[in-house]
C-alpha cells in the first residue's frame, strides 16, 4: 500500500484540474494495445478516430487485416508508407482468428441526460 503525502495530493489535484476539460475523454480511456516495436505508431494512427477496443475485439487473418489497414489509410489514418506492412504484421500477429474473444467492460451508471 503506498503512502501519499499531502503535497503530492495537492499536486495531483492541480494536475487533474488542469486536465479537467479532457476528463470526459479520459474516462473513456482505452486499454493499451499489446507491446511491439510499432505499437506507438499504431496507437497514434488508429486512436485518432476511434479507441483501441475496436482493434482489440477483431479476430482476422492477414488478408483481412491488409484490407482493413488499406481502408483506414484511404479514410484518413496517417500511416507512413514504410510502416504499412509492419502495421499489418503487428495487427495480424496480435489479433489472429484463433485468439479467444476479448472481454468487454460494462458501462457504469452514468448521469441521466
Amino acid at each position: 500500500m503506498c503512502k501519499v503525502s499531502g503535497g503530492q495530493l495537492v499536486m495531483v489535484g492541480l494536475l487533474v484540474a488542469s486536465l479537467s476539460p479532457l476528463l470526459p475523454r479520459l474516462q473513456a480511456q482505452s486499454p493499451d494495445l499489446p507491446p511491439g516495436p510499432i505499437r506507438d505508431k499504431v496507437t497514434t494512427a488508429c486512436t485518432e478516430c476511434h479507441e483501441s477496443r475496436i482493434i482489440l475485439q477483431q479476430r482476422l487473418g492477414k488478408g483481412a487485416w491488409t484490407k482493413e489497414v488499406d481502408k483506414m489509410i484511404k479514410w484518413g489514418a496517417v500511416v507512413d508508407a514504410a510502416d504499412r506492412d509492419a502495421f499489418i504484421e503487428y495487427l495480424s500477429t496480435n489479433f489472429p482468428p484463433d485468439k479467444p474473444a476479448e472481454l468487454m467492460p460494462r458501462s457504469a451508471p452514468g448521469k441521466r441526460q
Binding site: H50, K67, S107
Partner: protein
Amino acid sequence: MMRPLLGWAADLPVQVSGKDGMIVRSARFLDLEMPPEYFSSWTTPIPHFFVRNHMHEPSTLDADTWQLTVSGEVDKPLTLKLSDLARLEQHSVTNTLECAGNGRAFHSPHVPGVQWQKGAVGNARFGGPRLRDVLNRAGVKDSGKHVMFRGLDEVPGKVPPFIRSIPIEKATDEDTLIATHMNGAALPRHNGFPARALVPGWIGAASCKWLTEIKVLDKEFDGNFMKPGYRMPNHPVKPGDPLNVDDSHPVAALQVKSVISAPTDEWVSSSRSISIHGAAWAGEADIVKVDVSVDSGTTWHAAQLGHERAKYAWRLWNFKWKAPHAGDFTLMSRATDSQGRVQPLTVDWNPSGYLYNAVDKVKIHVQG
C-alpha cells in the same frame, strides 16, 4: 509507487450518460450492447437500449435551433423546426430495432466490425409525425424514387459521411416516422435527439439518427454506406471471399430470429427446474411460434409466447423445463414467422457479417 494519471484513467469505469450496465464494445465511437439479462422486458428501458454510432456524436444539439430540411425531387422544399414537427399529427410505433451486424461475432470465419453478440437490439415505442405527412407537404414529384437521410454525426478524417436512402414506398408507409420520442420521453442523445428516422422492421442503419436533412432522389443514394456498405451477396459466397457489389443488394428488412436470454451460456444450475426464456422478432413479419430444444436439436417443443405484441415488435417467450438428470445440456431456440420463414440451424457467411439469425444455442450444466 504512484501510478501515472493515464494508468488511472484506463482503469476508470466507462461512464455513459443515461446508460447503465451495457457491454462497452467501444467508448469512442460509442457502441453499447445490451446484455442478455435485459431481454426480460418487452419494452427496453432507455438505459438498456443499445447504441450504434458510426461517427462521433454531434458536439452540439440544441432543440431550439435544430432544423430539418426537405429538398430534392419535391415541389416545395421545406425547413422545419422541432415545433413544426410537434404540430403535425403524432403517431406511435413499437418497433424492434436491430443493428444489421447483430450477431457478427458468431460468424465463422470472423469478419471485421463491431463484434456484437446478441444484444445490438432493443424494443421501444417511438413517437412522432409520419414521414409521409412531411413529404406530402413538400410534394414529392413523380421522379422521386428514394428518400435520403443525413444526420448531424461528425465525420472523422476522410471517412465518408453516414448517408443512406430508403425506397419511396417504405418512406411513405404509414408506420415510417420522423421520431422525436422514445418510450414516451424526448429521444435521448445517444439514440438520436432531437429527431431520427424510424423505419420499422428494417435494419437500424435505415433509421438515421440526429436527422437534419431529407432529400428525395430519383434513384438509390450512391455512397459508401449504401454501396459497398450494407449490402448482402445475392448468392452465397465462399467464406473469406470479398463482396461482388454488382451481384448484391442493400440490406433492408430484418430476418426471423430468436435469442435465449436465460439461462446464459455456461450457466450452472443447482435446480433441475429451469425457466428458459428469450425474445423473438421478424422485422416486418409476425412471430407465429418459437420452438425450444433441450437435446441439441433432436426434438423440439413449443414455447409459450408472451401476451404483449405489436406489429414490428418482438415477442417474449418462455419454456418451463425439468431436466431429466444431472449433466450437460445444449438448449436451442428456433422462431417461425408469418411469412413462413424459419430460423435456420446455420447461416450463410457474408463478408460483413450482416443479419446473423442462426438458431440460438446455450450450453448449461445441471447439478445433482
